[in-house]
Amino acid sequence: MPHNSPELAAALRTFAEESGELLEAMASHLRALLEGDEDMERLHALFRAAHTIKGAGGMFGLEAVVGFTHLVENLLSRLRDGHQPLTPALLELLMDCRDQMEDLLKEALDDGGAAADPALAARSDSLGARLQAALGSDGGTVANAEATTPAQPPTVVLAPVADEDVELERVEADTWHLSLRFSPGVLREGMDPISFLRYLESVGRIVHITTLVDNLPEAEVMDPLNCYFGFEIELESERDKDAIEAVFDFVRDDCQLRLLPPHSRIADYIALIQDLPEGQDRLGEMLVAANALTRQELELGLTHQRQLAGQAQVPLGEILIAEGMTHPPVVEAALDRQAQAKGRPGKDKGNESQFVRVHAEKLDELINLVGELVIAGAASHLLARGRRDRRAQEAALTVNRLVEQVRDVTLKLRMVEIGETFNRFHRVVRELGRDLGKDIALDITGAETELDKSMVEKLGDPLMHLVRNAIDHGLEPPEQRLAAGKPERGRVRLNAYHDSGGIVIEIGDDGRGLDRERILARARERGLIAEDETPADPELYALIFEPGFSTAQTVTSVSGRGVGMDVVKKTIAALRGTVEIDTVLGAGTTIRLRLPLTLAIIEGFLVRVENVPFVLPLESVRECIALSATSATDRRQYVNLRGEVLPYLRLRDLFALGGTPPRRENIVVVRHQGNRVGVVVDQLQGELQTVIKPLGRLFRGMRGLSGSSILGSGEVALILDVATLAEIATSRDHNRGGTAAQLQQGAQACSTQ
């Protein structure tokens, strides 16, 4: 690029530094992913890094860097959005691509692109081809299709193409005529029509602007924030229609632009006049005043129009077509738009009586406030109880009951049907089936089952993994199905229903089922279970969700390295859900996800250590037992529970709370995916229902915590993450919790938020 100013040279140096840092970051994220750290945030960071390198590189005209990085960015975008599972093969490819980006940047920045190294360019090509292959036919076209949508021209009506065969009078004016009407809300969007008119001067010379003030209402009803002005403009320009339309691309949704080229037919002007709301007399006069039409031309056009209209009540558009004045598609487009404009208000009205559209944010705000209300209600109840005032207690109880009702109703507001999510899979099934040469039917049941909107959003990725897995691994190829006496067409089933206060989602297939023996062999091979151990089915099948666990004999691009299934487990656990597997060899597999209906509220079990309150999700609590000083084998950290070994951990140690344990401690036995572990606490305080708040910044990255909550007493209680606790207790790794100081600071930060 030309570094013709010292400022630009300085900017280029900034870019060199910045891109170096970004490449470093990319390398470390890729390494972590390769090592099995499946943090989605890493993919986001990778995408952002590629995005910035491409964006900034483009500004400096570093074509080679931009072109190559563009492909990398595409792949990262698909991975990030879960459209494609992340496989080790892809990670290796991304590593190579990152190195290539580094080399390309080095070349571009060091010698100013003077002598491009042909070997480097060749490597770009071959890696590019691999990226394209990884993206697949699907990835490439989708990105392109999306890219074309935003490039629509503004709403342009009646812009007839000059047709030399038609002998019709044309106007003398050698200027373009632009007729602009804006939607009332355009000013509120920060778009000032005058600014666009001024920019119009960059594509030609404005000969005349007529500002139409007709639509400005009387003072009482005039809204100062609405746009009422319309504009008729004569523009002298050598540029084409697209260039003129492009001036208004930012307001394409908010303006109607009618564009007549120089020497348009009189009829087109007449059509334009009649199409506009101000009325033909007023506009006709105006066009004459602006020298767009001569008075003669106007008279001629209007007379012709009257004669035609006199014959029959034929719509103007049809007359124009019959007369060969304009091209059918143009008129159709215009009429279409009119029909839409007419149809829309009526349609909306029909819905309005039943639905109110509310911004999701407002609902979140409401739910948050209701959460506060629940807490405040509990506090007042506590206070009333403490005072032993019966009437106050009764009043507080009534308030609490109402608050709970309000909470339930409010949470329902955010409930959406899962059907929409399910329906997305029709396409996935069709496309994947085609790619893999499998004929597949998708059965959807329970589409009307409702769950929290935030939940639906988070379920997209795991469902995608599971459906892909069912298609790829579950269903046999057609020849195998036929050989096994099954119909050639495989079936994938999505089902949802409510069950004991939660939602159950099932992903089923009528494929080959899980092969117990092969999983067992694989698990032994990977050292996940001992040679002599024979776990029960649920425990064994749960292993398919372990990182890197796969029994697939051939690895396909769709799935097959166990990476995706691991993500599923993590995501569902993060949603406080569980995964179950039902499978019959040769007959199919059903994966059952059990999830709470909402993420906003938790049924919890309150415990205390050193008087710090902690909440355990009630659904994971199995029982509570006393831990006597003698029964604890402190070195080994497990107890004998009815003949079984129960590993346990002390929250006191995990969070370094210090102090001395009371004489009699308690163990809360929690269960997570077939594992039972004990959590040692000082006091048991019983069940509570509480509103979950996200963790404050200080807590993030602390192991064992999933959220916080405020108790009726105003204290901040920390919600424990059972999955992590189970992991820590069984792995004996106690050293990665937070510190007491951190915990205290964090609690303060939470309560002041």
């Binding site: 900034a56 483009g58 000032d192 001036v247």
Partner: protein, 122 residues
């Protein structure tokens, strides 16, 4: 009085080049590294236009514009969002949040200047 443009992007070099182009055309430029920083930089000062990247850490462009459009004195401030061509979804979200003008990365400084000139003049 020169008009002020707030540029929000986590890339220092993009900010730098855009700033060069805009100051050259007679605008004042205020820089912010992400949405959070941008909200801080507003600080009650008159901003005639905002240019914001979409993908940023802390507070992304969409979240920032949503908050901007709630703030008195900024609710009518035009916003140009920077995006990549593959992000039709982000574009839809951005439009709902109130950003109607978009410039696709990578762009040349002249393209940015053209987009700005459609919305405000120095």
């Amino acid at each position: 009085m020169a008009k002020t443009i707030l540029i929000v992007d986590d890339s220092a070099s993009i900010r730098q080049v855009v700033k060069i182009a805009l100051t050259g055309a007679g605008y004042e430029v205020v820089e912010a590294v992400d949405g959070m920083d941008a909200l801080k930089k507003l600080d009650g000062r008159k901003i005639n236009l905002v240019i914001s990247d979409v993908n940023m850490p802390n507070l992304d462009g969409i979240g920032f514009v949503k908050q901007l459009k709630q703030k008195s004195g900024y609710q009518f401030t035009p916003v140009i969002m920077l995006t990549t061509e593959s992000e039709a979804d982000k574009m839809r979200q951005g439009k709902e949040a109130g950003a109607k003008a978009w410039v696709v990365k990578p762009f040349q400084p002249a393209q940015m200047l053209a987009a700005v000139s459609k919305l405000i003049q120095p």
